[in-house]
Symmetry: C2
């Protein structure tokens, strides 16, 4: 796909030569390297950049952007390449700045429950690094993504129902702006009323306003007690109603994940889960003191029993919990394994909790009517769920059917007062839905983009066009 | 002060005549009305607008701004006038849009724990309105402020340690932009990765980017159990160390408020609190199930005992809690009553929790050395505290002494990695500290201001100058 007509090449731009010379071995034009950086984990075609540079410091990123600004070359930040809406595709060619070697944990403040990391540190690396402090970083989108990438896409995942998303957990940033300046936003205070909230503006801006090079994060004490449980349900509606009542009751569950019967069957086969039926299933996790975990679990069990849920299967030991959550995290690969020869189009939507049953049931009906193999999983405590739509990569009609379901799902979520993406982001895959969802507000987003990046070199073609 | 030379008058601007004609009785040029709108509760001189209009709808606000945009007239939004950093002062004259009559609760969604209100609804009015639903809105800055004003200043207050600030609790907004468009931001989903976070950008923008006319808010279930307690300490250090350890232990206290011995003496006298010494004091509140409230209280009591705190004096009954929290909310008036003939300059700062003891103790020393009567109170769980500096309004040197303490406090907080304002905002009182705190990032704030309000008519002269 490197010859894709849509990709504008900048290979002859003198800025590329300057950067190659400056960064030597850390600047690559090798096709395999460029191809690897031309796609995330989404279904989008590979669109490689002209050059990939492995940056080591914020100052180097600033140097790269300064050259790109002078020579009008697109700049695309790249962490681990696990995003799903085409965020890292080089739609207009240019330079990809790979931040994965910026992997230093810069400081950990156990007294203040915060830390500062370079953008390339992954969430697992951070948690490994701070393991002995009694603290952890909860945000877990499944993939072992980089924290800079997670900030850029406003990631969340399984723990967000209790701990919030990257929006709530980033205290401050270092950002390289489109003209190559280094700017620090936010601070270490837990709250501030000092000026415009630039931190929240860059969180979720997907590299289109600047490149995040450092992230200040909140940390949390590892709970005294953690318990996971699995509960199976006669149908989707009873499971979703259990979620709704749990959330409405204000029970502070740490994780509340739904797998429909299709997904559960795939997970049983792929992850060799024993003792479960291929039925609609929920995975719970409770965090707190011994007493409060017991109390939360008893409350949720009472609710699920009322809706016909099975007895809880408990995983109190860390290794048993790991089996469960790995099975959950591997849901996408389980779905792929259940549909040999197909590719997966993963999408997400998020609605107010009262609309969750309607939105999931209508979507399930649409999937059934359309005849696509599409397991449903979800961080349902937030009203957020995913479809993994399997399509034959050699059959355009199959892809069109899958995209039709996505389109109807997004408009359905928006009509229910929800959003076209709870956590995957807009990239270039969901730009039309952004307009459907936000209307006139998109013009303000465009104003910000123009103000911060008048030459449109920062990850151009994503979120908004200018 | 209406003849203040610094106030530019727009009285003859044809736009003023157009608006007077259009809004009739709801447009006032009466001196008393203009004077009332020319100041908040801060120490700043009154700077009245040329015209005050009482708006009833978002469309009317848009109409006003459209005229002001055409005739280049400053527009200043006004809620209840309780802000502290000169936010509502008409520095350049113009039109004040009083939103207090936009006081409709538009919807309450008990199932989704959210609601939508017009900007003029106050926090007490909202809580009164939803009393029978079992839900409440926790953010409590003390004053019965309007929710639009609270969003505009990113307010927080006593409950923020548990429930977050307006940053975390505003789901979406309706905003009138500087060119008179009506824009909706955010939505009702609990999380979204769809585009730039305009909601968080307008929250805390103090009317400088647009006028907030509607607010979508998170609500919470009223806890099954609520308990308040008071604990007295031998000195400031032991009290602050109790706070620090409580927060570091992750105990989810709902309120944790500090009053130094000066403030406590004033409160005992003003609010007729019985059974307490004029000593360093903390007020706690615990929310949760019966069991978890008991557990939290026992944990905190153990910590405070270790630091020499007294036995807890409990207020489990609602009416006893009300006495306590009214005394806390009236701290400012108690301080004024303790210093007859003086005015109060209320300021705030916020630091990482590990720096709280150093910051408060150094500040206390400065107050003592400077010889100003200045009680300390604080939402110390967030690292946030206030000084109420009493000065003689007829003695410029007294004011200068107070301002000197404020200046040193803000630079001290910034040096400790904190912020010059945890919750009061920048207004025009703290613009110099904004630059000290955020440096180059202020230029990005200025870029946003220019992009959203190129003619600088939206509350000009606040947060950033362009």
């Amino acid at each position: 796909m490197s010859g894709d007509a849509a990709v504008r090449t900048h290979a002859d731009n003198p800025g590329i030569a300057i950067l190659k010379q400056r960064f030597g071995d850390r600047a690559s034009t090798a096709e395999s390297v460029r191809e690897h950086h031309g796609r995330g984990e989404g279904w989008f075609p590979t669109m490689p950049p002209d050059l990939v540079i492995y940056a080591h410091t914020t100052e180097e990123v600033a140097e790269i952007v300064t050259v790109c600004a002078e020579y009008r070359i697109p700049v695309i930040p790249f962490g681990t390449g696990t995003s799903l809406e085409g965020h890292v595709s080089a739609l207009h060619g240019g330079v990809t700045v790979d931040l994965s070697q910026m992997d230093a944990v810069l400081s950990v403040n156990t007294e203040d429950l915060d830390c500062r990391v370079q953008a390339g540190v992954t969430r697992k690396q951070l948690n490994e690094h701070i393991r002995d402090t009694g603290l952890f970083f909860p945000i877990d989108p499944g993939a072992n993504a980089s924290l800079g990438g997670m900030a850029s896409t406003r990631a969340s995942g399984t723990n967000a129902v209790r701990y919030g998303t990257m929006r709530e957990n980033v205290l401050g940033l270092t950002v390289v702006t489109a003209d190559g300046r280094i700017v620090k936003t936010g601070g270490r205070a837990r709250k501030s009323a000092a000026g415009y909230d630039l931190t929240r503006l860059f969180v979720g801006s997907e590299g289109t306003l600047g490149i995040i090079t450092e992230v200040q994060l909140r940390l949390y004490g590892i709970p005294e007690s953690i318990s996971s449980a699995v509960c199976q349900f006669p149908d989707l509606e009873s499971a979703v109603n259990t979620v709704i009542l749990t959330i409405q009751s204000g029970i502070p569950v740490a994780r509340i994940e739904l797998l429909d019967e299709v997904q559960m069957a795939a997970c049983i086969a792929y992850s060799k889960l024993e003792g479960f039926e291929p039925a609609v299933t929920m995975f719970f996790e409770f965090h707190g003191t011994e007493a409060s975990v017991d109390e939360q679990a008893a409350q949720v069990q009472a609710i699920s029993t009322d809706f016909g849920g099975s007895a809880f299967t408990w995983a109190k030991l860390a290794e048993d919990r790991t089996v469960l959550w790995e099975a959950r995290h591997n849901a996408f690969y389980a779905a792929l394994a259940a549909a040999p020869g197909k590719k997966g189009l993963a999408t997400d939507a998020c609605v107010p909790i009262s609309k969750l049953a309607d939105c999931i049931l209508e979507t399930k009906q649409d999937v059934t009517d359309t005849g696509v193999f599409a397991p449903i999983v979800g961080h349902v405590g937030d009203g957020n769920f995913h479809l993994c739509l399997m399509f034959d990569p050699d059959d355009p009609e199959d892809l069109a059917r899958a995209k039709g379901i996505v389109e109807r799902l997004n408009h359905r979520a928006i009509a229910f007062g929800g959003t076209c993406t709870g956590e995957h982001g807009i990239g270039y895959g969901k730009m039309s839905y952004l307009t459907a969802e936000h209307g006139e507000a998109v013009s303000l987003m465009r104003d910000i983009k123009k103000a911060f990046d008048p030459n449109n070199i920062m990850n151009p073609g994503k979120i908004v066009s200018i």
